[in-house]
C-alpha cells in the first residue's frame, strides 16, 4: 500500500491527482465545519452577489452561498460515486466469478445480460428510468450501479478464468481445499486488485453522469446542492452572474481531473508490466 502510494507520488500527474483527490475528499468530509452558511438558506435581497468576505464565491439567484453549496455538493458527488461503484463492484465481482465457474450455458446467460446492459448508453438508460420512476438520489445510485456491473463483471470473469487453472490453485485443490475456500481466499483477493483500479477510473465518470442528470433536472431533487444543479442555475442566470457557472464548472473539473489522474497513476503503479523499479 505504502509502496503503491509512493509510486503514485513519484509521478508528476499522479501527485497532482492525489492532491486534488485529497482536497475533494476533505471538502466532502469537513463540509459542515468549513461551510460558512447553511447551503439552502435563502437571502433574496443578497442574490447574485460577487465574491465577498461573507460569501467567498458569491451567491446564487436566491442569495444562497455558492461556496457552501459547492462543499455540500462534493458530498453528493462523492456519495453517489462511491456507493454506485461499491454496489457495481460487489455485484460485478460475484457475477464475474460465477460466470467463470458456472456451466457454459449459464455463463452465456450472464454474458448476454452484460451485453444487453452495455448496449444502452448509461446516460440514456438513466434518463429513461428517471422518466419512468421519477428523480431521486437512490434511483440515480441504482441506475449507475446497474450500468457499471458489466464493466466489473467482465474483468472479474476474465481474471478468474486466467486464475482458476493456475498451478497454485491446482495444488490447493489437490491438498483438499473446498471450492468456497479457493474462491474466497485466492480468487477474490487476486481479482479485486484490477477491479480497484477500474473503480478509481470510474469515479469521474459517475460524477459526470450524476452532474449531467442534475443539470438536465432529472437528478438529485432541489434544493440539494448537486454540482449539476448549480451548473444549470449558472447557465440559466449567466446574464446576471457568471460566478455560479464558473465555480460549479471549476469544482467539477477539479474532481474529475483529480480522480482521472489518480486512477491512471494507480493503474500504472499496480501494473507490474509498467513498473520500472525492482
Amino acid at each position: 500500500m505504502t509502496a503503491t502510494l509512493a509510486r503514485i507520488w513519484g509521478s508528476g500527474t499522479g501527485r497532482l491527482g492525489l492532491v486534488l483527490v485529497v482536497l475533494v475528499v476533505l471538502g466532502a468530509l469537513l463540509a459542515p465545519l468549513i461551510a460558512p452558511h447553511d447551503p439552502n438558506q435563502i437571502a433574496v435581497m443578497n442574490r447574485f452577489s460577487g465574491p465577498t468576505l461573507q460569501n467567498p464565491l458569491g451567491t446564487d439567484q436566491l442569495g444562497r452561498d455558492i461556496f457552501s453549496r459547492l462543499l455540500y455538493g462534493t458530498r453528493i458527488a462523492l456519495g453517489v460515486s462511491i456507493l454506485s461503484i461499491l454496489i457495481a463492484f460487489v455485484a460485478g465481482l460475484l457475477l464475474g466469478i460465477a460466470a467463470a465457474y458456472l456451466p457454459p450455458r449459464l455463463e452465456r446467460v450472464i454474458l448476454i445480460i452484460f451485453d444487453i446492459i452495455s448496449s444502452f448508453p448509461s446516460l440514456v438508460l438513466a434518463l429513461a428510468v428517471v422518466a419512468l420512476l421519477g428523480p431521486g438520489l437512490w434511483k440515480i445510485i441504482l441506475i449507475v450501479s446497474v450500468t457499471l456491473v458489466p464493466h466489473f463483471g467482465r474483468v472479474a470473469r476474465a481474471q478468474t478464468l486466467a486464475l482458476k487453472n493456475s498451478p497454485f490453485l491446482e495444488a490447493e485443490r489437490v491438498l483438499g481445499a473446498s471450492p468456497a475456500r479457493l474462491v474466497l481466499v485466492h480468487i477474490v483477493p487476486n481479482v479485486s486488485g484490477p477491479l480497484v483500479v477500474l473503480a478509481s477510473m470510474d469515479i469521474p465518470v459517475v460524477i459526470a453522469i450524476e452532474a449531467g442528470l442534475s443539470f438536465l433536472g432529472v437528478g438529485v431533487p432541489p434544493p440539494s446542492p448537486s454540482w449539476g444543479t448549480l451548473l444549470n442555475d449558472g447557465y440559466a442566470y449567466l446574464d446576471q452572474s457568471i460566478w455560479m457557472a464558473v465555480f460549479a464548472g471549476l469544482a467539477l473539473t477539479i474532481a474529475t481531473l483529480g480522480f482521472t489522474l489518480f486512477g491512471e497513476a494507480l493503474r500504472d503503479a499496480v501494473d507490474p508490466k509498467l513498473r520500472t523499479e525492482p
Partner: protein, 519 residues
C-alpha cells in the same frame, strides 16, 4: 429601310420596358425587399392543430396565420374587422347573419369555402363527431344553438342566449377558424391534429417535430399577400438557448421570460426590446380534492405562509406587479379591492396545528422547467419549511407538464404553479375554473355551483355593469376557497431585430404572423 438603334435609344427603350413591367413585378419586389424569411422562436413544439382542441398560443398563432375566420382582429389590436366575411350583421341579440366572400379557396385543392364549412366548423365545438373527445374550447361556442345555411356563401348564427363575448372570444379568434368540412371528413380528426387545411395568408408546408415548422405564403390567398414569403418557427424551450439563438441571428423574434434577459439583449446591436403590459395570470394552485389540501385550514395556512413579494423579487427580479385576483387591471371585472394576503407565519402554524398537522406535512409542488418558475418554487419551498411543510418540487418539461390535469395525474396533483394566457373578454379567463373543466384545465379541481351559475349568467348578460359585478363576485368565491395564490399578471417582453415589425395582440401571447412587416 434601315433601322438604326443608337446607344441613347437603346437605354430609353430599356427604361420604358422596365417602367412598363414594374406593376407586374411589384409583389415580387415587396418580398425581395423584406427578405426571404423570418424566424420566430416558440417555446414548445406544436401538439394539436384542431382549433377546437388546440393546446395554447403556439397552435393558436399558426392557425391565426393559416386559417380564415368570419371576422378577425386588426393588426396589434382587438378591433374586429371582416376576414372571410363580406358582410356580418347582428340582427338581434341572438341572431347574426353572414355572407362569405366568394372565391376563397382552401389549401391543397380542398375547394371553395362555403357556408356549410362555417356550420361544420362552429357546431363541432359542442357536437363532437363520434369517437372525438369533447372540444377543449367548447365554452367559446356554448351560446351557439345552430348555424343555418341560407345559400352557398350565406348563413345565420342562431344563439341560445345573448353572448356579448362571442365576437371577441369565438368569432374573431381561433375558435372562429373555418375548417374545411371535406378535409376533416377525408383525413379524419386524428390527422387534423397535425395538419392544417386552411385558406389563410400562409400555408403550413413543413413540420419537422421538435425541429421546425414552416409557414409559406399561400399563392392562392384572396386578399393582400403577407410581407414575408416564409415564416419559420423554431421550438426552443430553454430561455437561455433562445437568447443565444437571437444573438447569433438564428432567431429574429422571441418572447423573453425575464426583465434581466431584456436588459442583457438591449445592449445587442440591431435589437429592439418591446415591453407591453400583460393580462396573463400566474398562480400557485392547490388541488382541493386531494388530502390534506381538501381541508380549508391547510390551504389557508399555506397562503399565510407564503410571501408573494419575495417570490416575485427572486423569480421575476421584482420587475412585475403582484396579482391579487384573476382579472388583470384594465379588464372588465377587475377586482380593485381584492384582499392582499400578507405572510403571517404564526397564524399559519396555528391553522396547521388546528388541522392536525402541527408536527409537519409533506407536499409536492408541480411546475414547468422554466428558470422563473423553478426559482419561485425554491422560494416557496424555503418559506413553507418555516411552518413545518416539507415541499417536494416536481419539475417537468412542457410535454409532460401540460397534460398533468388529466386522468389519474390530475387526481394526484397537489400544488402547482400555473400560468394561463388571458384574452380581452373576462369570460375567457373564468371558463377554466368551472366544474366541467375538472380533468382538463381546472387543476385545482375546485367546484362551486354558484361560480358555475354566475359564469353562465355573465356569459349571456349584455349589461357591462352587471357583468363586471358578477365577475368580481366570482373572484370573491375563488378567494374564499383559498385554492389560489395569485402571483403576477407578468409583463410581456420581446426581443426583435430592428428590421422587423412584429404584430402582437394586446394580451402578448397572440401573434399575427400575417401582419409581420419590415420595419
Amino acid at each position: 429601310m434601315k433601322t438604326l438603334i443608337s446607344r441613347r435609344r437603346l437605354l430609353q427603350g430599356g427604361a420604358a420596358l422596365g417602367l412598363a413591367g414594374l406593376p407586374f413585378a411589384a409583389p415580387e419586389f415587396a418580398f425581395a425587399q423584406a427578405g426571404s424569411s423570418v424566424t420566430v422562436r416558440v417555446d414548445r413544439d406544436l401538439q394539436n392543430l384542431d382549433p377546437a382542441r388546440r393546446i395554447g398560443s403556439v397552435e393558436g398563432n399558426i392557425l391565426r396565420a393559416t386559417m380564415r375566420r368570419l371576422t378577425q382582429f386588426a393588426p396589434n389590436s382587438f378591433e374586429v374587422i371582416n376576414d372571410a366575411a363580406e358582410s356580418m350583421e347582428q340582427i338581434d341579440e341572438t341572431t347574426i347573419e353572414f355572407t362569405l366572400k366568394p372565391g376563397i379557396m382552401f389549401h391543397q385543392g380542398y375547394g371553395e369555402m362555403t357556408a356549410e364549412d362555417v356550420k361544420f366548423s362552429f357546431e363541432r365545438f359542442n357536437n363532437p363527431a363520434e369517437g372525438e373527445d369533447p372540444a377543449t374550447y367548447a365554452a367559446d361556442w356554448s351560446a351557439l344553438e345552430r348555424v343555418e345555411v341560407t345559400g352557398t356563401h350565406s348563413g345565420r348564427l342562431i344563439l341560445k342566449n345573448p353572448a356579448p363575448a362571442l365576437w371577441l372570444i369565438a368569432l374573431s379568434d381561433i375558435s372562429g377558424c373555418i375548417v374545411s368540412k371535406r378535409a376533416f371528413e377525408e383525413l379524419g380528426s386524428e390527422r387534423m391534429k397535425t395538419t392544417v387545411i386552411g385558406a389563410g395568408p400562409y400555408e403550413m408546408t413543413n413540420w419537422a417535430p421538435n425541429s421546425s415548422i414552416t409557414l409559406a405564403a399561400n399563392p392562392d390567398y384572396l386578399g393582400d399577400p403577407p410581407m414575408f414569403p416564409e415564416i419559420v418557427l423554431l421550438p426552443i424551450q430553454e430561455p437561455q438557448t433562445a437568447q443565444l439563438a437571437f444573438r447569433s441571428n438564428e432567431v429574429h423574434f422571441t418572447k423573453l421570460d425575464s426583465p434581466s434577459a431584456a436588459a442583457a439583449l438591449q445592449r445587442e446591436p440591431g435589437t429592439e426590446i418591446i415591453n407591453r403590459d400583460s393580462i396573463n395570470y400566474v398562480w400557485i394552485g392547490m388541488n382541493v380534492q386531494k388530502a390534506p389540501l381538501d381541508d380549508l385550514r391547510v390551504r389557508q395556512a399555506i397562503r399565510l405562509a407564503l410571501d408573494v413579494d419575495e417570490i416575485l423579487l427572486a423569480a421575476w427580479d421584482g420587475a412585475v406587479g403582484r396579482a391579487h385576483a384573476l382579472m388583470a387591471p384594465g379588464l372588465l371585472g377587475h377586482w380593485q379591492d381584492a384582499p392582499v394576503h400578507a405572510q403571517d407565519l404564526d397564524a399559519a402554524r396555528a391553522l396547521l396545528a388546528e388541522a392536525g398537522h402541527g408536527s409537519g406535512l409533506n407536499l409536492r409542488l408541480t411546475l414547468l422547467n422554466r428558470p422563473a418558475y423553478q426559482t419561485a418554487g425554491l422560494v416557496a419551498q424555503a418559506q413553507l419549511a418555516q411552518v413545518g411543510i416539507n415541499l417536494e418540487l416536481e419539475v417537468l418539461d412542457g410535454g409532460t407538464y401540460w397534460s398533468m390535469g388529466e386522468g389519474e395525474a390530475g387526481e394526484n396533483l397537489e400544488l402547482s404553479i400555473q400560468r394561463f394566457g388571458g384574452k380581452a373578454d373576462p369570460s375567457f379567463q373564468t371558463q377554466w375554473f368551472v366544474t366541467g373543466q375538472i380533468g382538463s384545465w381546472n387543476w385545482q379541481r375546485w367546484s362551486s355551483e354558484e361560480f358555475d351559475q354566475m359564469n353562465a349568467v355573465a356569459d349571456s348578460t349584455v349589461d357591462e355593469a352587471v357583468r363586471a359585478e358578477t365577475y368580481i363576485r366570482m373572484q370573491e368565491l375563488m378567494d374564499e376557497s383559498s385554492a389560489y395564490i395569485w402571483l403576477t399578471h407578468e409583463v410581456n417582453l420581446f426581443a426583435v431585430k430592428d428590421w422587423l415589425e412584429p404584430a402582437i395582440l394586446p394580451n402578448g401571447d397572440d401573434w399575427q404572423y400575417a401582419h409581420f412587416a419590415p420595419a
